[in-house]
């Protein structure tokens, strides 16, 4: 039987990263194919290629057995392929209906191409189907993250397509909203629509997928037929044994009662349940939660990026006041931000300049930097962290993701950190570099540094943390220790459930 859509030997590389290496994908008419893999496995890249967002370096795509060239988004749409992106891509300054029909507005007035007001009725129909309870006239900037996600989905549903690609559509949806979405997917399947479904929530995939395609580090890692779709089977193909061995880490239960960092009743939003938690010296505290649950905001508040509305921060039994990033840094609390290219590095500057950026005051005299000031410090750091770069004068933008992350880390290690907050430390980093980053975190913890690690990667949370905090709706929904740390218990807390002890 001929496949509806077939991608053969797809390759795509980005500077410093082979995202896809001869990847194959086949899908039948009316089939729900789940594509799973760890962060950075290449799922999103593959979907973007099929959706016409980016073009492959090589490979062939066949639709109905015919070779097609999907060079642009409009072309993909013409071929009947709709893509729901992982990240929200909405015009926040426009209303809900305008976003749903953006680019394909019903028109009247001939050459004037005026927008027909029936857009609001049409939008309302789709919104009701999806359970999106707001006015089609509401501005998107006023919606919650979950609602925005539904607008994104509504947009794809608004036009005729044969293949629907959904890249983590449930990342910020509540359980109820997710279930409604699965209902819609099943209806689409009955109408012979093909669905490519990406998700980190393996339970969802067990529920809805007809077949599973697993990617690992840009390669096909295996396939599972309907009867074989089991949680462990997917994880085995996703992670691979070698990675587990790489960072198997015993959950150390801290015996010492001494606290390194104590955060008391902190709020960064009005009407927020105050957040209280602590970190002991040498402890790696994992922080899990769905996108939009407030993890990054919490980290940014502690690091002085965001204003703290109320609350106290106590470091080694001393109250400290954090009103700016400088306050946090002087106290020894450092943030390794989520988007290292945007917030962690000056991409156009050299490795050396980036490493020294936080320590210039101690290198310079009277505000002037000696010509070779800090050279030795930068070189020491490069050696210590094994940063792979031809020289410390190389522009940091040319380094691979893993090495860039090491440069961010090196910047802080020059300053003797006491608390390090990692926000998605291994996003978009290959397996080898991941293992190195974990080893570094482990070493830092052994030196008595307290680590807070925010991650959406459940494997990472489970294997690296000594203790896990789970956030939901800008509050800490629960804490897990030792044997209680599991994918299920975390997801349960993250989606608003409670943990059966």
């Amino acid at each position: 039987m001929a496949y509806l859509l077939e991608a053969k030997q797809i390759c795509k590389s980005f500077p410093g990263l082979q995202a896809l290496n001869n990847v194959d994908l086949k899908v039948n008419k009316g089939e729900i194919l789940a594509v799973v893999g760890e962060n950075g496995a290449g799922k999103s890249t593959l979907m973007k290629i099929l959706g016409g967002v980016i073009n492959p370096d090589s490979g062939e795509i066949l639709l109905d057995g015919q070779t097609v060239n999907i060079a642009s988004i409009p072309q993909a749409q013409k071929l009947g392929i709709a893509l729901i992106h992982q990240e929200l891509n909405l015009a926040e300054n426009l209303d809900v209906a305008a976003n749903i029909f953006l680019g394909q507005e019903p028109r009247r007035g001939g050459i004037l191409r005026l927008i027909d007001n029936k857009i609001y009725d049409l939008a309302n129909q789709i919104m009701q189907e999806l359970g999106l309870n707001c006015s089609p006239h509401a501005l998107v900037s006023e919606l919650s993250v979950g609602q925005k996600q539904l607008v994104e989905i509504a947009r794809a549903l608004s036009f005729q397509f044969r293949i629907l690609i959904m890249d983590e559509p449930t990342a910020s949806l509540s359980l109820e909203e997710s279930n409604r979405l699965f209902g819609i997917i099943k209806v689409l399947k009955e109408k012979d629509v093909t669905v490519l479904y990406i998700s980190h929530r393996l339970k969802e995939i067990e529920e809805i997928a007809d077949r599973v395609l697993v990617l690992r580090d840009g390669l096909n890692s295996g396939e599972l037929q309907k009867s074989e779709i089991k949680h462990e089977a997917m994880v085995r193909l996703m992670v691979g044994r070698e990675l587990k061995q790489f960072f198997q880490h015993a959950h150390r239960v801290q015996k010492t009662a001494e606290l390194l960092l104590h955060v008391e009743a902190l709020r960064y939003l009005e009407n927020q349940k105050p957040i209280t938690f602590d970190i002991r010296p040498g402890e790696i505290v994992g922080m899990s939660g769905l996108a939009g649950s407030g993890r990054t905001e919490l980290a940014e508040t502690i690091a002085g990026v965001r204003p703290m509305l109320t609350g106290e921060i106590i470091l080694s039994s001393q109250y400290i006041s954090i009103n700016s990033t400088a306050d946090a840094i002087n106290a020894g609390i450092f943030l390794v931000p989520e988007d290292r290219r945007l917030h962690g590095l000056v991409l156009s500057a050299s490795v050396k300049d980036n490493i020294l950026l936080g320590s210039l005051n101690s290198i310079g005299y009277l505000g002037l930097i000696p010509l070779h000031g800090g050279d030795s410090l930068a070189k020491d750091m490069r050696e210590k962290l094994a940063i792979k770069t031809p020289s410390v004068d190389q522009q940091v933008g040319y380094l691979s993701g893993g090495n860039q992350q090491k440069v961010v880390l090196a910047k802080w290690l020059c300053r003797k950190p006491r608390v390090l907050i990692f926000d998605e430390p291994t996003q978009g980093i290959d397996v080898g570099a991941k293992a190195e980053i974990y080893a570094l975190m482990d070493e830092l913890a052994k030196d008595g540094i307290g680590i807070l690690m925010i991650s959406s990667d459940l494997e990472e949370i489970i294997h690296v943390s000594d203790r896990v905090l789970v956030m939901h709706h800008s509050a800490i929904a629960g804490e897990l220790v030792g044997q209680n740390i599991s994918e299920e218990s975390i997801m349960n807390l993250a989606t608003g459930g409670t943990v059966a002890a």
Partner: protein, 315 residues
């Protein structure tokens, strides 16, 4: 909406203050001059706003005005040309369109920053105007009286012609921006260009269109400038016009971040910008303080804009 209400209230207060400050026998004339000025400068504010709404900026407006006025004078009256207005005017407007097209192509296809491209334009077009005029004033004397009458002289139902022209353009712009698909795309591009692109919108095409329209409106302003003043001096006329145009648009609620602004707002913004110095002048504030007043009003507007911004849209 809050922003617009605030602007209207501010405008009404200013106008009442003006009515009190201006002696009653001169009030009608003052109103007429003010209306003419608002109509005239509103045209380039509309152009600047189209570009700003898509998230761009155009600093070359003043130079395009001077170049167009100079070219228009030459085409209409110089020996060897002496063209009929029905040929000369389309040529001048077409020249404006070509300038905008070049800006748009450099910005979208070569990925140059709009600030840089139009800053270069600001220098280049003024240089071209001074060169083709031999660095002299170019006048139309008392020729083209029909054209001048059609575009400038006398009132229509008591309104200055420039204001009538502006009202017609503003209505077209309002339909374009607020009711048509094109306008919707302008706002979408300014709000989130990636979202627009992912929706299958040819974002480059619409960005180019915004620069073309802006430069064409600047060229049209140049023609009106020539009609009103009878002559243009490329070495000294039209300085700061781009800044007035941008200030009017921004004062009227266009955000330099893109994606925001309404035609009614732009009109009110332009009106405020010209009533304000008129008023301070009537109060006897020395004219050298005029720029301080306009600058302060603009700063105040920017502060208000930031304060009214919803908190959750900062990401």
């Amino acid at each position: 909406m809050k922003k617009l209400t605030g602007l209207i209230v501010f405008l009404v207060i200013l106008y009442i203050a003006l009515a009190i400050a201006v002696p009653s026998q001169g009030f009608a004339l003052n109103n007429y001059n003010l209306a003419e000025r608002i109509g005239q400068y509103g045209i380039i504010s509309l152009g600047a706003a189209l570009v700003i709404i898509t998230g761009g900026i155009d600093l070359s407006i003043g130079s395009v005005v001077v170049l167009s006025a100079t070219a228009c004078a030459i085409l209409l009256t110089d020996k060897g040309f002496g063209l009929d207005p029905t040929i000369a005017l389309p040529l001048v407007l077409g020249g404006g369109a070509v300038i905008g097209l070049i800006h748009g192509l450099l910005i979208t296809k070569m990925n140059l920053p709009p600030f840089m491209v139009t800053l270069c334009g600001l220098f280049i077009y003024r240089g071209v105007a001074r060169t083709i005029s031999g660095n002299m004033s170019k006048g139309i004397g008392n020729q083209c009286s029909e054209l001048r009458h059609f575009l400038y002289e006398g009132d229509v139902f008591g309104l200055p012609r420039f204001l009538v022209i502006y009202i017609i353009l503003a209505i077209i712009a309002a339909i374009f921006l607020h009711f048509s698909v094109y306008g919707r795309y302008f706002y979408a591009i300014g709000g989130n260009e990636k979202a627009a692109k992912y929706s299958g919108i040819a974002t480059d095409k619409y960005k180019i269109l915004s620069y073309v329209l802006c430069s064409m409106l600047a060229a049209f302003f140049g023609i009106l400038f020539l009609m009103k003043n009878n002559a243009v001096t490329p070495s000294s006329d039209g300085f700061f016009l781009e800044l007035y145009a941008i200030a009017g648009a921004v004062l009227g609620g266009c955000s330099l971040r893109g994606g925001e602004g309404t035609v009614i707002g732009i009109t009110i913004g332009t009106a405020i910008m010209w009533i304000l110095p008129n008023l301070t002048n009537m109060w006897g504030v020395p004219s050298e303080l005029e720029f301080i007043v306009i600058g302060s009003a603009l700063l105040l507007g920017a502060i208000m804009d930031e304060k009214l911004r919803p908190v959750n849209s900062t990401s």
